[in-house]
């Protein structure tokens, strides 16, 4: 006879017995045709390629859409054809003709010249954050329909306002703003003349490897294979799970619940270096860590002080001790991996030289200054090292830590004295950084353009002229040579001490191969990814 007590205990135990049974099946490794990625997805605002301008979103979009051309990570001086099979410029370097290759949208329809022209026109007409990348060629909402034209199903012409280096145009078209969307589908989902913007923020209409199945903000993104796209591997789905905590990402990777972990810390990566089951894919990305000296401070406005700061910093020591796996010493304003980037690192710590420069500036006894910096690691540690380095030459630094948007807001208002921050490049051309660091024509508080140089009140007519000359040079080789000269000049004679370039690492399980990281996030690609 079963007592009432035993019956209740037995009843209570049943769920747990079922649970143990379940544990064997449900917690197995991910299926072979599904790639699961753990990644922080908390700053994505849109998956419309003509609007989204954040790193994570950029990566997702570049796997859903194709562009006329794409950046070449093996040889950054030349782009690779994608939707465009070939291109040529006219004698005046103003009319550029693109012949299209065969490509299909996820709907099965062919990519036509009309789709290409519509897509580029759409980007200009919507005029969202990244539109400046192509409207700098003189396209406006008013003229774009006459300047970007589909000549036939396989031919598109772009007519720029002024003579333009074809390499410059191509590099700009390799950005996500150059993504080709399917005109018919997008217009079918248009509301209130928004050119399908609201719909495309959470849907896709591209010809890339994958299409969007679902985006659950702060939860996950699910991409499914575009059967008509260029992907030829064994993946049917890519699920990107929003996992904020790096420790959770690490555990899930080691257990096989995710195939790739994207946001591991330096310490975790160190531990994984000796793990045979994990492969680390590393890439230097277009993000620089630098100190900006605001020129509205009389002491910081002295060129000798710019030099003194650069010679006082212990770049190698900081890299080895604070950011060994996440950053490399880099001193040019252009990131390594870009066309024409100078990778020399002429500045080494030389305190005597730095002190002599301080004396030459009439500041032998030093001065007090505040350094604003991001509160997230590694910035506090770097800031402390900078404080010690500059202290050795008499610059008494007071550290002020804040969340990164707070620091950026302060810099935008020119409220900082010195700031340790990061700068991410917008598109794959040297002009992207040269423009923001060198071209500042109006240094007034209410200037219409407020590039990075403006934020630190730095205006140099010489740099402006050189950057514009390099931008407008038609010969691609000469153009890159001009940028190299500009970089060296800027490195030596500007109030910006570029210190490091960020290295991004994706930790992949051994059975995952072919995942690629790009110098820009839009180069992060699943195109050649497979699971064994």
């Amino acid at each position: 006879m079963v007592s009432r007590r035993n019956f209740l205990i037995g009843g209570a135990a049943l769920p747990f017995l079922s649970y143990i049974e379940l544990a064997d099946t449900a917690f197995a490794a991910t299926p072979k045709d599904i790639l699961v990625v753990a990644q922080q997805l908390d700053n994505m605002t849109s998956l419309d390629p003509h609007e989204g301008f954040e790193a994570v979103g950029g990566e997702v979009m570049s796997n859903m859409y194709q562009k006329l051309v794409r950046a070449n990570s093996d040889n950054p001086d030349h782009v690779l054809p994608v939707v465009a099979a070939s291109w040529e410029a006219d004698a005046d370097n103003k009319v550029f003709t693109f012949k299209l290759a065969d490509a299909k949208f996820s709907s099965g329809a062919s990519v036509t010249g009309e789709d290409v022209a519509f897509s580029l026109q759409r980007a200009i007409k919507m005029n969202k954050s990244p539109a400046f990348i192509i409207n700098q060629f003189g396209f406006t909402a008013e003229n774009v329909e006459s300047r970007i034209v589909a000549k036939d199903a396989k031919t598109v012409t772009l007519t720029t306002e002024a003579p333009t280096a074809i390499s410059f145009l191509l590099f700009c078209l390799s950005a996500n703003i150059g993504a080709i969307v399917e005109k018919k589908v997008v217009l079918a989902n248009e509301t209130n003349g928004d050119l399908g913007n609201a719909w495309l923020q959470k849907n896709s209409a591209g010809s890339g490897s994958f299409k969007l199945q679902a985006w659950k903000a702060s939860e996950s993104i699910t991409l499914v294979l575009n059967e008509n796209g260029p992907y030829k591997g064994n993946l049917k789905r890519v699920i990107i799970r929003h996992v904020v905590d790096p420790s959770s990402q690490m555990l899930m990777l080691q257990k096989g619940d995710v195939d790739i972990a994207r946001d591991l810390t330096s310490e975790q990566l160190k531990a994984l270096q000796s793990d045979d089951g994990i492969v680390l894919v590393r890439k230097q990305i277009a993000s620089l860590v630098l100190i900006s000296l605001n020129q509205n401070n009389a002491n910081l406005a002295k060129p000798q002080v710019w030099q003194a700061v650069k010679w006082a910093l212990d770049y190698e020591g900081m890299q080895k001790n604070i950011v060994p796996l996440t950053h490399a010493v880099h001193q040019s304003m252009e990131p390594a991996g870009f066309p024409g980037t100078v990778t020399d690192t002429p500045f080494k710590q030389d305190l005597e030289k730095a002190k002599a420069l301080m004396a030459e500036a009439g500041l032998k006894d030093g001065f007090d200054i505040t350094l604003d910096h991001y509160s997230a690691q590694p910035y506090p540690d770097l800031a402390q090292a900078i404080q010690a380095n500059l202290g050795a030459i008499g610059i008494r630094v007071k550290l002020q830590s804040a969340e990164n948007r707070q620091v950026l807001t302060k810099m935008r208002a020119r409220g900082h004295e010195m700031a340790l921050s990061a700068w991410g490049t917008d598109y794959f051309d040297p002009n992207s950084n040269a423009e923001v660091f060198c071209i500042n024509k109006d240094n007034s508080d209410d200037a219409k353009k407020k590039p990075f140089a403006w934020r630190s009140s730095f205006k140099s007519d010489e740099f402006t002229a050189k950057a514009e000359a390099a931008r407008d040079e038609k010969d691609p080789a000469k153009r890159l040579a001009l940028y190299e000269t500009l970089q060296r000049d800027f490195m030596a004679n500007s109030p910006f001490a570029v210190m490091f370039q960020t290295t991004r690492t994706a930790a992949c399980r051994k059975n995952v191969n072919g995942f690629q990281l790009g110098v820009l996030s839009e180069g992060n690609s699943y195109l050649e990814t497979n699971k064994a």
Binding site: A26, D42, Q201, A214, D245, R405, Q406, L408, T409
Partner: protein, 337 residues
């Protein structure tokens, strides 16, 4: 009748005043904090003309009082505004994120109360004994060890080492997109869908965060129960009951505990409110897409409409649970009647 009406009116006025105060405070903090919300919308590298246009679109070029009046007007029409990050109306986001937290918090509270109250009573009855000391140590650990540490240790032991619990997240990827959202409470939705595999999977994913949160809350409930019970056991009515020859069980549960229950209502209500507020750390470690994570992400990205909307919701929860506690006081405590 008139007295009751007055009491109800006073309560309602107090609730509305609290919520209004909360709205003013949160709105002002959102507007005066040293972060430009436009950067959250368009990114730091956006050109100046786009920034200016979006600032106007967001109404941030208006004086703060005008912005506030506009916001109040929106609120009066049930509109919490749009989230810059999710591109959804905030109300829609709350409907999506809150059930995940509700599910976690309710299960954790039930577990915490079911274990914490008897433990507290037991510790009070055995005051000073080994049992009391053991319960004290267990409770101390639950309340003093940081939740993120407990969560990580739990993942390390039960998920990574022993392999008897699933990892972070609400469900396994094999169920991704398989269950239609009806209530947003996954255990219920899986049952509605008739998918027992998904139900057990959802329950398994809940186990660790629920136990962690329950442990944390249980520690507090048990300590408070013990303190209330010790006081109650000193009462003359308890001595009388014992003198009359009643069994210890009857004295404890029939005489002493009902007096403690009244005080426990407030403790449990506040604990529940705290859990519903969103256990940010637990949600972060366990990748639980709840209201706490939504609030944190919004705050970190200066996305102020969700911050204000979520704060109002949390305020409403506190006020609501306090009201329920007040009502229960009247039911449970004859002196209030």
């Amino acid at each position: 009748m008139n007295r009751r009406f007055k009491s109800l009116a006073a309560t309602l006025s107090s609730v509305l005043l609290t919520l209004f105060g909360l709205t003013v405070l949160t709105f002002l903090i959102g507007r005066v904090m040293p972060v430009d919300p436009v950067i959250a919308a368009v990114g730091d590298n956006a050109p100046e003309d786009v920034i200016l246009r979006v600032r106007t679109e967001m109404g941030l070029d208006q004086p703060i009082p005008v912005q506030f009046l506009h916001y109040l007007y929106q609120l009066a029409h049930g509109d919490f505004g749009m989230s810059v990050l999710t591109k959804n109306p905030v109300a829609q986001d709350i409907v999506r994120f809150f059930p995940a937290t509700f599910e976690l918090a309710t299960a954790a509270l039930l577990l915490a109360a079911l274990i914490g109250i008897p433990l507290g009573v037991w510790a009070a009855v055995r005051r000073g004994s080994f049992t009391d000391q053991a319960i004290r140590v267990v409770c101390l650990a639950g309340h003093s060890v940081p939740v993120f540490m407990l969560s990580l240790i739990s993942l390390l032991v039960f998920y990574s080492a022993l392999d008897i619990a699933p990892g972070p997240g609400r469900q396994d990827i094999v169920y991704d997109g398989m269950i239609d959202t009806v209530t947003g409470i996954l255990t219920i939705d899986t049952l509605i869908a008739g998918d027992l595999g998904a139900f057990w999977d959802a329950l398994a994913h809940m186990a660790q965060p629920v136990i962690i949160l329950a442990y944390f809350s249980m520690a507090y409930i048990a300590r408070m129960t013990r303190a209330f019970m010790i006081d109650a056991l000193k009462g003359e009515f308890v001595i009388t009951a014992r003198a009359k020859g009643l069994t210890l069980t009857k004295v404890i549960w029939g005489h002493a505990f009902p007096t403690v229950a009244v005080q426990l209502v407030t403790v449990i209500a506040l604990t529940y409110a705290g859990l519903l507020e969103g256990a940010v750390v637990t949600e972060t470690v366990f990748s639980w897409p709840g209201i706490g994570q939504y609030l944190t992400v919004s705050l970190m990205n200066a996305d102020m409409n969700p911050v204000i909307g979520t704060t109002l919701l949390i305020g409403l929860i506190y006020v609501g649970l306090n009201l329920i506690a007040d009502i229960l006081y009247r039911v449970l405590d004859p002196r209030v009647k």
